[in-house]
Each structure stands twice: as C-alpha cells, then as structure tokens.
C-alpha cells in the first residue's frame, strides 16, 4: 500500500504552533538563506546524482516494516528536499509540517541506506538539512525542542541543575561504599587519565549505571574523574533538532571540561548519538578537524579493560544472548568487532541477528526520534516491526545493546510485540559477573 505523508499527519504542539506563525514568503526567505549559507556542494551532488533506482528502499526499517514505498529513503528526499529545491523554497506552511514530520520522526539518521545506495548518497545528511530548515522556521516537535531548550539553559538534556548532578554522584558514591568501602567517584581531579562522561538520563533515571561504572573503574584501579561542572553530559539533542549553535555550545562545554581537567581522554558511557555528537558533528562545527580530546566509547573501553586483564570475569553471563549494533558506534565508528569480542568474553551462547554489524537494522529510537515524544511513539514502534521480527528469530531471552537510545526503542518493540526479551547494557553484565575483589 502506498500512503502519503498527508495521510499520516500527526498533531504535535510544537509543529502546529510553528506552522501557525509561517507564511510562504517567510518560509522562502528562511529557506533561501539556509541554502545559500549552508547548502554546499555536498547537498547539490546528492540531489543531482540520485538516479531514483530505489535500491535504498530495502535498507530502511520504516519501508521494510510498512512495505510502503513512501517510506523509502529516496521517497523521503523526494517529499522534502526535492520539492523545496524545485519551488526555490516557496512552499506552504502545511508542507513544512510534512517535512518536519518526515525528517524528525520517520528517519533515524541511521545511515543504513547509504550502504545500499550505489552512489553512496547519504539520505541522513539530507534529512538533517531538512531538520535544520525546520529548526530555522521554528517547526520542531515539542518534546525534542524541549530537550534542546534544556541543553541551552543547563548544558544537559534533562534540566538537571548544577547541584543535582554533584549530589547524585555523592549519593551514588555513598551507596557504592556499602559494597566497596574504599570506592570513590573522583570529581574534578586534575590530571586523571580520563574523564568519564554520561548522558543526562543517567543521573535522572538510571543512576545504577553510574554506580556500576564507578564500581568497575574502582575495581580496575583506574585513575579517572568526572567533572563537577556543566559539560558532564555528552548527549546532544540540539544536534538532532537542527540547532547547530546550541549543539556547538554544548560540545564546547564538554571538551572544555576535559581540557580543564587535563585528562588524556574522554571515556563515555553506553550511548550512540552522544558519540556522534562529540566524535563527528559537534567537534567539527566548532572548527576542530578531529576531536580536541580523544573520545573512547564504552565498547572500546571495556574491550581494553578485559584485554589488559584490569577486570576479570568471575563467571560468564548465561546465554543465549544476542547483540544489537547501535548505528552511531557501528556505522559511525566501526566498533562491531570489538563489541563482539567483549560480548563473547562476558557471555555464553551468543546468537547473531541477521543482518547485523554495519548492516544492522536501527532501533528506531535514534536520531532524536524517541525524543519527539509521545505523539510519535506509535510511529516508531510500528515502523520497526522488522526489528521485532529480527529479534524474535534469534530465540534469545537477552539482548545486549550498548546504547541508551537503543534501549528506549527496543524496549518499546519488545513490549508491543510481546518478545519477552530482557535488555542489557555491557556495564550491567560486567558489573554482575566480574571478579569483585574487596567487595563486601
């Protein structure tokens, strides 16, 4: 069945209020300014070279779940950027609503389709560009806009106040000392080997992850620190809302925290989009060719700890387990082999999903889609039945996903499709099964 974006229109307070303020003239003026200032050769090349072959369709989980051609990557571009260019930006407010709905909620910027395009066209880049235009027009889904606001005001994603951050770490330290009396969560230690950074949902809802990380680092005898200032949150939803200026400010705070502490590298928790923000996008917007401080994802970090013998497993986690490959650290950084080595070292009975590694299907939460909130929840659940099928086919009861966003997205499909699978972070399993010297 073929639908159109108009058939799928969803009410969202941010999108409705946004288009109510627009006229075609205002839209055109803004679009032309964005195209002139930021629409470089890359956009032009992509648009001009696409041969409409449709090879990208089968790459996209939305298409695979719906089998509706209007969800194909090329269709997303056709319904947005091609129209914008064709009409030189003179489009209606309602059309902008449609662009926003497609770009923010029907594309995870997962870049899977790029691997299937014979010309290497990066649809995610084009969708990011559409988001940038929507941001400039003030047409952004309410909930992701709110997280971008939070970033601007607090430099973290969840309105965590400066004291709440420190307080949470102090409290986690206290709790963990019941288990390991000498444990510390070192704050603001100059010259530590690395700064550990997390995403704001950790101090807010998933404090056990900070606890576990602290426990692992102490067991491994590492010289580490966390910053006691804004800059502790490595996540960046402004990157996905299209607010590049706030994205840059958030990344600046993050890197400057690491530079002030004179750490050798930043190790970050199990999050994918955050890695993209610091390793690929935010750093470059700030003018750095690479990251100013090396950034290591938890997968690589745990791989190091296990390989150097700094941590040892007392037992292996009982399988069978399967591995979900988060887009941003797999396609974005190539960590698929290390992820497998870590999982094999800590778990028994690994059952691979198919397809996997750089051809994995996205969790359908990433790219800011889950952050668009309740109005679009059903879209991403229905739009990812292909992932549910893939998970089901493994027959496992445990899925390891080293990414917060993936947990959010997978949890929802596990629930909706009654898969009865438990999700785990690598840290959950390492903490549970490692040798614990000196722990009570």
């Amino acid at each position: 069945m073929t639908t159109t974006i108009a058939d799928r229109r969803i009410e969202d307070a941010g999108l409705e209020a946004g288009i109510a303020r627009l006229t075609p003239e205002k839209i055109q003026k803004t679009i032309l300014a964005v195209l002139e200032g930021e629409g470089g050769a890359r956009l032009k090349t992509y648009v001009e070279t696409c041969v409409r072959c449709g090879m990208c369709a089968k790459a996209c989980h939305y298409y695979m779940s719906h089998k509706d051609p209007s969800y194909a990557p090329v269709a997303k571009v056709r319904q947005t950027m091609w129209e914008i260019l064709k009409h030189k930006g003179l489009v209606s407010p309602e059309f902008i609503h449609q662009c926003a709905q497609i770009a923010y909620t029907e594309c995870n910027l997962c870049r899977r389709c790029m691997h299937y395009c014979p010309l290497g066209i990066d649809t995610a880049y084009i969708m990011s560009f559409v988001r940038r235009i929507c941001h400039k027009l003030g047409v952004t889904p309410q909930y992701i806009q709110d997280t971008a606001h939070s970033h601007s005001a607090t430099m973290n994603q969840m309105w965590v106040k400066d004291d709440e951050w420190i307080d949470t770490l102090k409290w986690q330290e206290d709790e963990a000392r019941d288990e390991m009396p000498e444990l510390r969560i070192p704050l603001e230690v100059e010259g530590a080997d690395f700064m550990y950074s997390v995403i704001a949902p950790e101090p807010k809802f998933r404090t056990q992850l900070i606890y576990q990380a602290a426990f692992i680092f102490n067991q491994a005898g590492l010289n580490w620190t966390m910053p006691a200032t804004p800059g502790w949150d490595n996540s960046n939803m402004a990157m996905f809302s299209g607010d590049m200026e706030i994205m840059g400010r958030v990344e600046m705070a993050h890197f400057e925290a690491a530079q002030r502490l004179r750490v050798k590298r930043i190790v970050m928790g199990e999050c994918g989009h955050a890695f993209r923000a610091i390793y690929d996008v935010g750093n470059r917007w700030l003018g750095w060719g690479m990251h100013p401080v090396p950034v290591v994802h938890s997968i690589e970090f745990f791989w190091d700890l296990l390989n150097s013998g700094k941590i040892r497993m007392a037992k292996k986690y009982p399988g069978p387990v399967t591995i979900h490959d988060p887009c941003n650290v797999i396609r974005g950084r190539g960590l698929m082999d290390k992820l497998r080595e870590v999982v094999h070292a800590i778990c028994d009975g690994v059952v691979e999903m198919t397809p996997n590694r750089e051809h994995n299907y996205c969790c359908c939460a990433g790219g800011g889609v889950i952050n668009c909130g309740p109005p679009f929840k059903n879209v991403r659940i229905v739009g990812n039945s292909v992932k549910a099928d893939q998970l089901k086919a493994t027959g496992v009861k445990t899925c390891i996903a080293p990414c917060h966003n993936c947990h959010g997205g997978l949890e929802d499909i596990i629930h909706k499709y009654g898969l009865g699978i438990e999700l785990k972070f690598l840290g959950d399993i390492i903490y549970e099964c490692m040798e614990k010297k000196g722990a009570s």
Binding site: E38, R265, G287, G289, P294
Partner: protein, 422 residues
C-alpha cells in the same frame, strides 16, 4: 596567583612534608593533595572511617570533621577552603571554620583575584544563588547557572531563571524566562538564554551573551541588549580602560569580534573564542581558527602564522607585551606558543602557561613520560615530580617557586631563572 615578597625566596630545595599522604589522625585514605600558593602547606581531604571526613594540612587534621568534605581549594591569599556537609546541610569551611549559614547544597567555591573574597554557589529549598563570605544572596531563583565573581570580589553574578515554566512548555521558554542576577537581583529584561556573564571591576557593570530568540544572539550590558543580532556569540569581555564591551560573534558562518557598534575584528575566522585584554586595554588577544582545523592566536585581529589542530589556555600579560597559549594534536604533542613563536619542546601534556607580570617570561608545568616538570622560556628545570602545581614567579621575576610531590615527599624549590638549563 600573585607572589608575595614575604615568602621564603631563598634559592634551594626544601622538603616540606616527608609523606604527602600522612595524616596524624587515624584514617582510611587521603585524597588528591592541594598545595598552598607559598608552597609551605600541603592539604588533603582525609577519610577518617565510619563515613567521616576532615582536612589535613601538613598532616595535621582540622579540629572539626564532617559527613563530607571535598573541593579543597587554596584561595590566592593562602586561605584553605573546603565544601563541607554536616547533618545533611552544606557550607564552606575556611581554615577549619565553617560559615555560620548552611544550605541544602553548596558547591563551586570561587575567589576574587587576590583571594580576599570567597564565594560559592548555593541551593536552599530548591532556590538558587550565591553566598559571598558566608552571606547568601537575598534573592534566590528557580535555577541559576554560569556563576561568576568579579576580579575585585565586589560583585557576583549568574544567569538565572526568573519565571517558572511547566514541563515541555516550549512556548513559555521561547518568550524568555532567563535573566542575569547581579548580587542576587535580576535585570528587568528577560531573554531566551543568558550565558557567560562578565563583571567589570569597580563599576560592577555586567555583560552577558544573550539569545533573544532561537536564532538571535547578541550581548546585553546591565540588561540592555545590543541592537545587532548574530548567528552565535561567546562570552563578552570589558575593555579595562574605556569599559567597552566586546564579544566574539558569528555571522554567515564566520567569527569576528564585535562591540555595540558592530565588528571591531572582521568576521574572517572559522572560530574565535576566549578573548582577553591586557590591563591597559591596548592588546586584545583571542584563540582563532584561520581555516577549518587550523587554530592559532590572534592579537589585535592579526593571527600568528603557526597553526595547530587545537589551541587552548590563552594568557596575556598585564602590559600586553607577552601573549602565550598552548597547542596540541589529539590531546598530546603539546607545544607552548609565546608571541607567535613556538618553543622547541613537545610534551605529553601541558598545564597552561604562567606569565611573569614583571619580566614577561613564561613558565609552564608539563608532563613527559609520566613525570611532571617545569619549563621556563623553553628550558627545563632538572627536577621532576609525580605530581606538581603551577609555577609562581617571585615579585622581581628573578626566581620561580616550584611545588611538587616526588615519591612521597612534598617539596618546594626556589629556582633562580638561571637554573632552567635543560
């Protein structure tokens, strides 16, 4: 850090403390030690067991102990502060004496330039502000960020939330609920965001970067915004002579420096941040990128020729004759840049150049092969340490005070400039 003539400037090395981890009270562990500016004391938080903490100074514990003690910082005048908690309430303790008032949370101790004033950030009953020498702001706010103290300590400021907002209420947010509070009192004006307030010494005028809408960045001084709008802006600075406010701003993808009448540095840079004036205002330096991935320092808008992937820690001497910074590649291969030339040494880490206010010479703490060392004008001092603190020039600039821990021993070395030969 301003050196004092009264300190012991007799050249030579002295072990101040045989064991930097020592504490006369029975204890479980001591934490990272801090060194006093004059090098005569070494202080560390000590865990006394049973969840109690104190502070040890040259191994002698403070008389009081606490539920928690951390963020040990020496003020520039040599007083030792810690953020402490007792009965669940937090305050700042200075040389073992806690401020009378305590708060639901206190953190982020900060000092005036000479150390005469000590301030901290506080939260009481979910309201936010600052406490200055024990006296909290009269007005506290729903939230506060970007806390600042003036160099002369006369004023404190922060970006504050002055109107409350419901969950995910993006409309209210975009109408503007933030302002800047000076000594607790907010400006009349509100903005979508306020960032990085700067306080002018003596007058107490405050400038901050603001966002008037999601797209319109500018600068406001005492609540009055510049007319011009920019695509982005970093924190402003005051010209120390004429009080003019300047800030790095972005227009059409490029950064320059603007005042209220428009650009004073043309927008020619891929990046421009951390502007800094000399004391007379004649020299304005900033970290800039001349093209993508090529960073250097620009002095009065003219960039140095050597560029690096990363440049940080810009310093300008009071007379403006010396401008120094450090450069790095992938957070290693640190180089020191002074007035456009590059020292020959390459280090695993550098800790920010220190300029002698009298002579303009530059000293820096560096790390190589896991050891900390000191380098002056490109030449190293033979002593190496496992842990070290910033070098401090003597008032006449003829000597440098080196402080560090080697093995277990905490030492202070007064090194004549001529001792840097490596």
């Amino acid at each position: 850090m301003q050196a004092d003539q009264a300190w012991d400037w007799e050249p030579g090395a002295r072990t101040v403390l045989e064991d930097a981890t020592a504490c006369a009270a029975p204890h479980e562990w001591t934490e990272e030690p801090e060194s006093s500016p004059d090098g005569e004391r070494l202080a560390a938080v000590a865990n006394l067991g049973d969840g109690r903490f104190t502070v040890c100074v040259n191994a002698e514990p403070w008389e009081t102990d606490f539920e928690k003690a951390w963020y040990l910082r020496f003020s520039p005048d040599g007083r030792l502060s810690a953020v402490t908690m007792e009965d669940g309430m937090w305050t700042v303790s200075v040389d073992g004496e806690s401020w009378e008032e305590s708060f639901d949370f206190a953190w982020g101790t900060t000092f005036s330039a000479d150390g005469g004033v000590i301030a901290a950030c506080i939260q009481s009953d979910g309201r936010y502000g600052m406490v200055v020498d024990g006296a909290p702001w009269e007005t506290l706010h729903d939230n506060a960020n970007h806390f600042r103290i003036a160099a002369d300590g006369a004023h404190t400021a922060a970006a504050v939330q002055v109107k409350s907002m419901g969950q995910a209420d993006i409309e209210t947010f975009q109408k503007g609920i933030f302002s800047v509070a000076v000594d607790g009192e907010p400006w009349d004006a509100t903005f979508v965001n306020c960032f990085d307030p700067a306080i002018e010494v003596k007058t107490g005028r405050v400038a901050a970067t603001i966002r008037r809408s999601l797209y319109d960045y500018s600068v406001a001084v005492d609540g009055k915004a510049w007319e011009a709008a920019y695509d982005c802006a970093w924190g402003p600075v005051f010209h120390p002579g004429n009080g003019q406010v300047l800030a790095p701003v972005r227009k059409k993808g490029l950064w320059g420096m603007a005042g209220d009448a428009g650009f004073v540095w043309n927008p020619a840079f891929v990046q421009c941040h951390h502007p800094q004036f000399s004391a007379d205002g004649a020299t304005l330096a900033a970290i800039v990128a001349t093209s993508f991935g090529k960073f250097t320092v620009a002095v009065n808008a003219a960039p140095w020729s050597a560029t690096f992937p990363v440049v940080t820690d810009l310093r300008v001497s009071p007379d403006g004759k010396t401008v120094a910074a450090q450069a790095s590649t992938d957070n290693t291969a640190f180089r020191v840049l002074v007035n456009g030339s590059v020292w020959p040494g390459v280090y695993d880490m550098a800790y920010g150049p220190v300029i002698c206010p009298t002579t303009g010479q530059v000293a820096i703490r560096v790390e190589k092969d896991g050891k900390k060392a000191f380098v002056l004008d490109g030449k190293a001092h033979p002593a190496t340490f496992d842990r070290a603190y910033d070098p401090i020039f003597s008032p006449d600039g003829a000597k440098v005070l080196l402080r560090g821990i080697s093995g277990k021993a905490y030492k202070r070395i007064v090194a004549p400039v001529s001792a840097f030969t490596g």
